[in-house]
């Protein structure tokens, strides 16, 4: 114990304080004295008035100044010049520095009349920026950086084998890989701690987005350099516009931006806000918003219902021209991009609005020539008014179509990917509010007058619904009454629907094809190219089924059911699989492969992924500790014309021949390499074993050479034990008459 203090002075009086250098501490803990000027603001841009009108003017501006705080008595000092007139400026002292800050923030650039605009600055700011020498008197032109050739951000599309990329987040590592079917994915880049919470692709695959405590970063190009940084401290979620021009960042914590907490690129404007909408090209914020308070509603028993946050809150139109946010129960605010001004300066008032959804593609209604975007919304029953579903055209704000609905408990809006249909899934309760049933109200957006078709043959509640991408078929999952407090989740049924074939190649009425019941499925994943669909059971403790369905299976002609109207479908279950602990399912953008993920975000059991082809054949499975995410890199829309695509489809047979040959060749060389490596291993091993045996022989290690058995003289007393085991494999009885 004592050794540690040996070097300390033993007696206090010998200690001379003056010899200690305290300057570093003084510097660190120095109290910044209040200069008393923090409560002052300087007002510029005031009208110049004669001295006798001064009192009037002071009174006038005091009215403005007192809106943000309290000006001290006699706190306005307006100097009068030699000519007896005021000089157009004034010094104002507030009661507190915080009021001065508020004044500078809120009153700056307030118009007094048509000619005069008030400029409000803090006195200390003028001292800081306006002092001589603080700002260079001479103009120096900003240096223009020489043009730098950036990497092509879409180089991955040029892969000679047309492979797709995926990002995998496992442990603390994030890596981008080429999908090599059943072989190990080929790494493109692999980095430790690339993100702090998760990764996300931009919708066309150009950028990989990483989330950090300070904000968001976008990465891309061949070298995976950082393309852009967006400072948003505490960011939780991001949402890109479909055209990758803009994106929204959100944090549950309001932003804090002021002099003491500067954040790059953000200004005082962003203080207290939760959402920022960014322009990706410039890296600058366009506008920021605070979270709206959702009115707390109560359920039937009067308990407050916990509202789930809607994400994305700001929804983008298909062409990046508009972004809209709903104020639940009141209105929808549509903003025009890139200026982010409220369309026609007013929100669209829709009383009771519960949800809205933009058309995912620019709609083409029959007979409508002008540009428009559509969104669909619904309102619940209000008093004696029925519930309503409406389609609104933007920018005209004209309601294109509405439909009244009764006994509505809830509704969900499902657009088809080409905006040809929107299906409103309406959960309806019976009059007694006891039983529930679901109706589908399908709006045929592309047809004249937007006719609505109702599918009301479903007796149960629909828990999931999905349109075929680029198609006109859909899958839904229903479940019966949910018995209260049972450990076993209720059985579900999967139903497939397709339109009837009608003369002239049009789309007929939607008809039920088939229902697969007694399932546990709860999730629907269509191939991005349509036709194939995976119906799965996710987030269940007991079952982890994956069913691979084909809706356009080639059936021999004679088997086709006669008498009935033909459907645009031919359903077949191709394969079923089971992935223990599956939590996410991802189709690759080409619709060739399906990755299923058991993510460590959900649980810690057998984390990893499986890779299937579209037919449901398992190609690869890999268990990886703390595997979190696997996301395919999206592809931008094709540049080929419809005709070119049709041409390729026609000659598919020729193409696939070439691909098959390539595959076999690749496989053969790979196999050869593997076999060569094995042969080498075997030879090396055998050579070493031979040398060891020789060594043992030289050493005379008899027991070792006899595999550890000691050689014994066999004495005559050998007892033989015979044991007979009889087993009855099968027994059958026959009565012989």
């Amino acid at each position: 114990m004592s050794t540690a203090y040996d070097n300390l002075p033993m007696e206090d009086d010998e200690f001379d304080e003056s010899q200690v250098d305290f300057t570093d501490l003084e510097e660190q803990y120095q109290v910044r004295l209040d200069e008393g000027l923090d409560a002052f603001v300087v007002i510029d841009g005031l009208p110049v008035v004669p001295e006798d009108s001064k009192g009037k003017l002071v009174k006038f501006i005091l009215r403005k100044l007192n809106t943000v705080g309290r000006v001290k008595d006699d706190g306005v000092h307006m100097p009068v010049g030699e000519d007896g007139k005021t000089e157009g400026y004034a010094f104002v002292e507030y009661n507190a520095p915080s009021e001065a800050i508020a004044a500078a923030k809120q009153l700056h650039l307030t118009a007094l009349d048509k000619k005069h605009t008030m400029l409000v600055n803090k006195l200390t700011d003028i001292d800081r920026f306006g002092k001589e020498g603080r700002v260079d008197e001479e103009y120096t032109p900003p240096q223009i950086e020489p043009f730098q050739q950036n990497e092509h951000l879409r180089s991955w599309l040029g892969d000679s084998e047309g492979r797709d990329q995926m990002v995998m987040f496992r442990g603390e590592k994030v890596g981008v890989f080429w999908n090599n079917k059943d072989d190990a994915p080929e790494p493109v880049v692999d980095r430790e701690n690339w993100t702090e919470s998760f990764v996300q692709w931009s919708p066309q695959g150009t950028f990989l987005c990483s989330i950090h405590a300070q904000g968001v970063q976008l990465w891309g190009g061949k070298q995976w350099n950082r393309q852009k940084r967006f400072a948003h401290p505490g960011v939780n979620l991001v949402d890109f516009s479909p055209g990758e021009n803009y994106f929204t960042t959100w944090s549950h914590r309001p932003l804090q931006v002021d002099e003491n907490h500067p954040v790059p690129t953000l200004s005082l404007e962003e203080d207290g806000k939760n959402y920022i909408i960014w322009d990706i090209a410039t890296g600058k914020p366009l506008r920021s918003f605070a979270t709206l308070d959702v009115p707390t509603s109560t359920d039937a028993e009067g308990n407050p219902v916990k509202k789930k946050m809607q994400w994305p809150t700001f929804k983008w139109s298909a062409d990046d021209k508009y972004v809209a946010r709903m104020t639940q129960g009141q209105s929808i605010s549509v903003y025009e991009l890139p200026r982010m001004n409220l369309l026609e300066k007013t929100s669209v008032k829709i009383e009771g609005v519960m949800d809205f959804e933009w058309a995912p593609a620019t709609p083409k209604r029959e007979g409508i020539k002008t540009y428009e975007q559509l969104f669909c919304y619904w309102t619940p029953e209000l008093g004696s008014n029925p519930a309503k579903v409406g389609l609104m055209s933007i920018p005209s704000k004209e309601i294109v179509r509405t439909r009244n609905l009764f006994n509505v408990s809830d509704a969900k809006l499902h657009w088809q990917s080409e905006a040809a249909y929107v299906c409103v899934k309406v959960d309806r309760h019976s009059k007694s509010k006891k039983s529930m049933a679901t109706n589908l109200e399908i709006f045929r957006v592309k047809e004249k007058g937007v006719p609505v078709e109702v599918v009301d043959s479903i007796k149960d509640t629909v828990i999931n619904f999905a349109w075929e991408p680029k198609g006109n078929r859909f899958v839904l999952i229903t479940t019966g009454e949910i018995p209260a407090q049972t450990a076993v989740p209720p059985k579900t049924a999967v139903s497939f629907f397709a339109p009837e074939k009608i003369k002239g190649g049009g789309v007929g009425n939607f008809r039920h094809i088939r229902t697969a019941d007694k399932k546990n499925s709860n999730a629907i994943y269509w191939s991005p190219k349509g036709r194939f669909v995976v119906v799965a059971t996710l987030q269940s403790q007991q079952s982890f089924d994956l069913d691979f369905w084909d809706l356009s299976f080639d059936k021999p002609k004679d088997e086709a059911e006669k008498g009935e109207k033909e459907l645009h479908a031919n359903l077949q279950l191709m394969a079923t699989a089971d992935h223990y602990g599956v939590s996410d399912i991802e189709w690759d953008p080409s619709g060739r492969y399906v990755a299923t993920v058991a993510s460590a975000f959900r649980h810690h059991m057998e984390n990893g992924y499986h890779l299937y082809d579209f037919k449901g054949t398992l190609l690869r499975e890999e268990a990886i500790d703390r595997f979190k995410q696997l996301i395919w890199r999206p592809r931008p829309p094709t540049l080929l014309t419809k005709e070119e695509q049709a041409e390729i489809r026609k000659n598919l047979r020729n193409y696939s021949k070439v691909f098959d040959e390539q595959d076999t060749a690749k496989k053969n060389t790979a196999d050869k390499a593997v076999i060569e490596a094995r042969r080498r291993l075997l030879e090396e091993w055998n050579a070493w074993r031979d040398s060891m045996r020789l060594m043992l022989e030289e050493e005379g290690a008899e027991i070792e050479l006899n595999d550890g058995k000691v050689l014994r003289d066999v004495d005559g007393e050998v007892e033989e034990i015979e044991e007979i085991v009889e087993e009855i494999i099968e027994e059958s009885e026959e009565v012989i008459s």
């Binding site: 059991m605 076999i675 291993l681 075997l682 060891m692 027991i703 070792e704 550890g708 087993e727």
Partner: protein
């Protein structure tokens, strides 16, 4: 990828069939799997222990299995039908280790009662008790049965050590009281140890993941090398010899097993798995290794058999590729032992069971393409 291990599914299906000896009704397969496989491959469940198994061993003839567990009793079983041959009573604490001499006359055991004991296999007679200040974690006879080695635990005031005794193979003879050799493990305690060919070296695995080579006569440390991850969590849990004792396999909590040469301590093969390993064995006849382990019960709160990875894993020894798994235990596997003639294996689990498996025909037929080529080349000579 020419060979696909075609018994992978059958083994695991079979492994899960629990058939007790006393009810020999053949299991009726409900699916389309070949009937025959169920009958041949079904495991024999030895349920004579009341607590977790710590080590299981075949005698050199392979007809007897010795098992020790934390319940203080040593059991001997007929390996072909699982009938109990006898028990050895006397230990006063959990047993950690057992070994039998090459002539199946003497049995050595060690445990938490700080004693190492020598028994007559045939009669169960206690021949000798050596007492130590700490418990005995591992015992092993040399290939000729003339020497016996014991690994002692480290505890406050006592360093871990390896002691070696001369053994007189005659059951009536008096055994020596004093060790002929004592190796003190100063840096990191030894967890496992064994004799190489001709007892030339004593090889020890340590708790810090290193492997040491000592001179078999002088006990001098010849070489020490970091083989497994250098972390106290990653101690070496097992060390088993190839039949001729020129190489051995180590298993570690770092989830890998490795094959090393006894003379050079060169790492030849590494088998990287996804679960902490407790044991690893080298199979004669076929070039496989069997690895056993699983998430320790204390590390998981709700351990389903699936999540705990309580499976015996078969890897190809030379190509270091996993080829099959056997399920069945519902706790981690604490030890796996292979029949000296390579006709079967048994595993002792934390669940208190010993599962004895006899290999079926597909096991012996399974060959990689290059192995088949080589066999053909040899038969053509």
């Amino acid at each position: 990828m020419t060979a696909h291990f075609n018994t992978k599914t059958s083994i695991s299906e079979v492994g899960s069939v629990k058939i007790h000896k006393s009810c020999p009704t053949p299991h009726t397969p409900s699916d389309t799997s070949p009937h025959i496989r169920y009958i041949i491959m079904r495991p024999i469940l030895l349920s004579g222990h009341e607590r977790a198994l710590t080590q299981v061993k075949y005698n050199p003839d392979g007809d007897i299995i010795f098992s020790v567990s934390k319940d203080h009793v040593v059991c001997a079983w007929y390996s072909h039908n699982g009938e109990r041959f006898g028990t050895y009573h006397g230990h006063q604490g959990a047993l950690w280790t057992v070994d039998v001499d090459p002539t199946s006359t003497l049995l050595a055991t060690g445990g938490a009662d700080n004693t190492m004991r020598l028994w007559e296999v045939k009669t169960g007679r206690l021949l000798k008790t050596w007492e130590f200040p700490t418990s005995i974690k591992r015992v092993e006879f040399s290939a000729d049965g003339r020497q016996l080695l014991g690994v002692t635990e480290r505890r406050s005031g006592h360093t871990g050590s390896i002691v070696v005794y001369e053994i007189n193979p005659d059951v009536e003879a008096e055994q020596a009281d004093e060790h002929v050799l004592r190796i003190i493990c100063e840096d990191s305690k030894a967890t496992v140890a064994g004799f190489s060919y001709l007892a030339q070296y004593i090889i020890a695995g340590h708790e810090d993941g290193t492997v040491s080579q000592y001179d078999g006569k002088s006990g001098e440390l010849l070489y020490n090398t970091q083989v497994h991850e250098p972390d106290v969590q990653n101690q070496i849990t097992d060390l088993q010899w190839a039949p001729d004792r020129t190489y051995f396999i180590t298993a570690s909590k770092d989830k890998s097993a490795k094959i090393l040469a006894a003379d050079s301590l060169e790492v030849f093969k590494t088998y990287q798995t996804d679960t902490p390993l407790n044991s690893a064995a080298i199979t004669p006849v076929k070039d496989f290794v069997i690895l056993g382990g699983g998430q320790a019960a204390m590390d998981v709160t709700t351990t389903s058999a699936r999540q705990g990875k309580f499976e015996a894993r078969f890897w190809h020894k030379i190509f270091a590729e996993e080829i099959g798994r056997v399920r069945g235990h519902f706790g981690p596997l604490n030890y796996v032992a292979v029949h000296p003639q390579g006709t079967g294996y048994c595993s002792g689990g934390e669940d208190g069971y010993v599962r004895v498996h006899h290999f079926d025909k597909p096991y012996f037929d399974f060959l990689y393409e290059v192995e088949r080529e080589q066999l053909q080349a040899q038969s053509n000579l």
